[in-house]
């Protein structure tokens, strides 16, 4: 029996009693609102820190679990993710998936945007659809913090964060054709969408 199922059974058991609120634990809103001081009101960051609104539930859960296990290297999120149960992480995932991501207003290099756009539709749009606005498997890229995306690319390169096989291939292809400048152009294209 999976832990999740056990939790669910305990929850169902709790529902028959009078202590519904107690058994349910903190609400998705309550849990998620504590993140806002760093990640912005309802998960849309206004500077530097990544926005976490609008991602798929699966992506949020996978990310938090990777922080929790240490599989993905972090500055503070590894310490924070360990404070939440799988059930709490699932609640936050549901909450943030429902919040529209407001693009960050940030500085970007205008001169790189057109190359970035071109590269995006050549290499990335198959998964990061609609110019990076959609997020089925990955995070929302359009309007995401450029600094954070730079960190992520450094982490993928260093092996501190696992990239899907498809993405590794595509990033390699961009690097071969355009070098680091190609990556920078992509990030500026995503950051330019405001």
């Amino acid at each position: 029996m999976s832990l999740k199922l056990v939790t669910r059974l305990i929850l169902v058991g709790g529902l028959t009693g009078s202590s519904l609120a107690l058994a349910a634990g903190a609400s998705p809103e309550m849990l998620s609102q504590t993140c806002a001081a760093c990640h912005g009101t309802n998960g849309s960051s206004v500077a530097y820190t990544p926005s976490i609104a609008g991602n798929s539930e699966e992506y949020f859960v996978d990310t938090m679990k990777a922080f929790k296990s240490g599989e993905r290297k972090a500055t503070v999120m590894d310490r924070i993710a360990k404070g939440y149960s799988d059930d709490e992480i699932a609640k936050m995932a549901r909450y943030f998936a429902r919040q529209p991501m407001k693009p960050m207003r940030q500085a970007y290099r205008q001169t790189q945007v057109s190359l970035g756009k071109e590269l995006h539709f050549e290499y990335c749009n198959k998964c990061h659809e609609d110019g990076g606005k959609k997020a089925d498997d990955g995070g929302v890229l359009a309007g995401q913090s450029i600094i954070y995306m730079q960190h992520s690319m450094e982490d993928f390169k260093a092996g501190w964060r696992e990239a899907p096989k498809k993405m590794r291939k595509r990033v390699k292809a961009v690097m071969e054709a355009h070098g680091q400048q190609g990556i920078e152009a992509l990030l500026n294209y995503y950051g330019s969408q405001q």
């Binding site: 609120a21 349910a24 903190a26 309550m30 001081a37 760093c38 500055t75 503070v76 360990k82 404070g83």
Partner: protein, 431 residues
């Protein structure tokens, strides 16, 4: 019952939503719209007012704050070092008002817990169904001989960001190269436990590039302090700590660092053993709950006891106390704590006003400190509520400090995320 006449009310609210607001004044729980008065527009109060309007559009929220602008204590140390401007830590209440919150700039003179009214210096009375108080800290004047509110104009505490932040910054700018800056942090508990040490770091950053022969002397009332290992490591790397040329010297209480008196004329402070002379002196006095908490009779000891699930006062029902003034152990007195407590409190108030049992709270706190350029450190804790003990307990196996072996790259990222935190928390409060 209302003592706000129409003319006054129009003046206060700018004429917005007068009809609906006045309709709610007729009785305490009879009208459809409930009234919440939030007092204090800092991290706790501003956040509580905003989140209440987000959680329940049927609650009329009035925010009473004496000042037109708020200056955040967090990141004010970067104003001292000149890394950021004073304007960048200055915030107004326009965007909260645009959310439909009635923002009143007035000084609260009393809260009548029985009548459920708040009275102000401006002569107005506000009714409430529930009141949220976030008065911050006050200083224990008299704890240090020769140091009072008057002397603090010349020897600033700068522990409530505002004009004194500018005074201290300008004193540092005017100081000769080779001068001594004294920082005297208080004993626990106090607002922003890592703050004095971040302040020393930021001042050292300024001196390193502008007045490199100068020194900082930290005369402490404690024998250890928040994130000590990480601060000392950073000071060694950036400011020569521990060498003959160290820019920073820390004197613990046991070594005679606790100061007992201030001589403003001689620009010196008296320790247990010797006296120390400074070119610039920054005394951070010991603290207690903000004045309003005392006026309203919400204090036991020096802080306000609360039910930590709802932050309702255990002394006066229907009044909630959040932020630095509340006894919210084991959360530290920080801007992040106040921001989170405001949300826990707002959710509970919305539940209680709708006859629902308050839900389970969740709390967390992250305190970043910026030690120098591209050098940030942090402590982070996730908390749960222990109903039996009425205690906010750390979730075991989680949280903690920046690792001692963090790479340069990781420390740089932490400084970037520290600034991201500042932009986001202030937007979460005032946006």
């Amino acid at each position: 019952m209302t003592t706000i006449n129409r003319r006054n009310f129009l003046k206060l609210s700018g004429g917005v939503a007068v009809g609906s607001a006045l309709a709610g004044c007729a009785g305490m729980n009879t009208g459809a719209r409930k009234k919440v008065v939030v007092i204090g527009g800092g991290s706790g109060g501003a956040t509580a007012a905003k989140y209440l309007t987000m959680m329940d559009a049927n609650i009329d929220v009035t925010l009473i704050e004496a000042n037109k602008n708020y200056h955040t204590c967090f990141m004010s140390n970067e104003v001292l070092s000149g890394v950021r401007s004073y304007e960048s830590i200055t915030f107004g209440y326009e965007r909260l008002a645009a959310r439909g919150i009635t923002v009143v700039h007035d000084m609260v003179t009393g809260i009548d817990a029985q009548a459920r009214t708040v009275t102000t210096k401006g002569g107005n009375t506000f009714n409430y169904d529930r009141c949220i108080v976030s008065p911050g800290v006050d200083f224990k004047w008299g704890a240090i001989e020769g140091y009072d509110a008057g002397v603090a104009e010349k020897i600033p505490h700068a522990w409530k960001a505002g004009p004194q932040t500018v005074t201290l910054r300008d004193q540092l700018r005017a100081m000769r190269d080779g001068g001594t800056v004294i920082i005297a942090p208080p004993g626990n508990p106090f607002r922003c436990p890592p703050g004095p040490y971040e302040r020393a770091s930021q001042i050292a950053h300024y001196l390193k590039y502008n007045k490199p022969r100068s020194k900082i002397l930290i005369l402490d009332s404690k024998d250890k302090f928040s994130k000590q290992g990480l601060f000392v490591q950073g000071w060694k790397r950036l400011y020569g700590y521990g060498t003959d040329n160290s820019m920073i010297e820390w004197v613990s209480a046991a070594q005679g660092g606790k100061i007992e008196g201030v001589n403003a004329g001689a620009m010196s402070v008296q320790g247990a053993v010797e006296s120390f002379k400074g070119d610039v002196i920054n005394v951070i006095p010991p603290q207690k709950a903000g004045k309003l908490a005392y006026v309203a009779g919400l204090v036991k000891g020096e802080w306000c006891p609360v039910n930590k699930q709802t932050f309702e006062s255990t002394i006066h029902p229907n009044i909630h106390v959040i932020g630095d003034a509340s006894a919210a152990s084991k959360m530290p007195k920080s801007g992040y704590s106040a921001n989170v407590q405001a949300k826990v409190c707002a959710a509970a108030v919305a539940d209680l006003l709708n006859d629902r049992a308050p839900g389970d709270p969740s709390y967390m706190n992250t305190c970043y400190s910026v030690i120098g350029e591209d050098y940030g450190i942090s402590v982070s804790v996730v908390y749960n509520y222990d109903k039996q003990k009425n205690m906010i307990e750390k979730v075991k196996g989680a949280g903690g400090l920046t690792p001692k072996d963090a790479s340069k790259m990781a420390l740089k990222r932490e400084s970037q995320y520290a600034h991201g935190w500042f932009e986001n928390i202030t937007d979460d409060m005032f946006g």
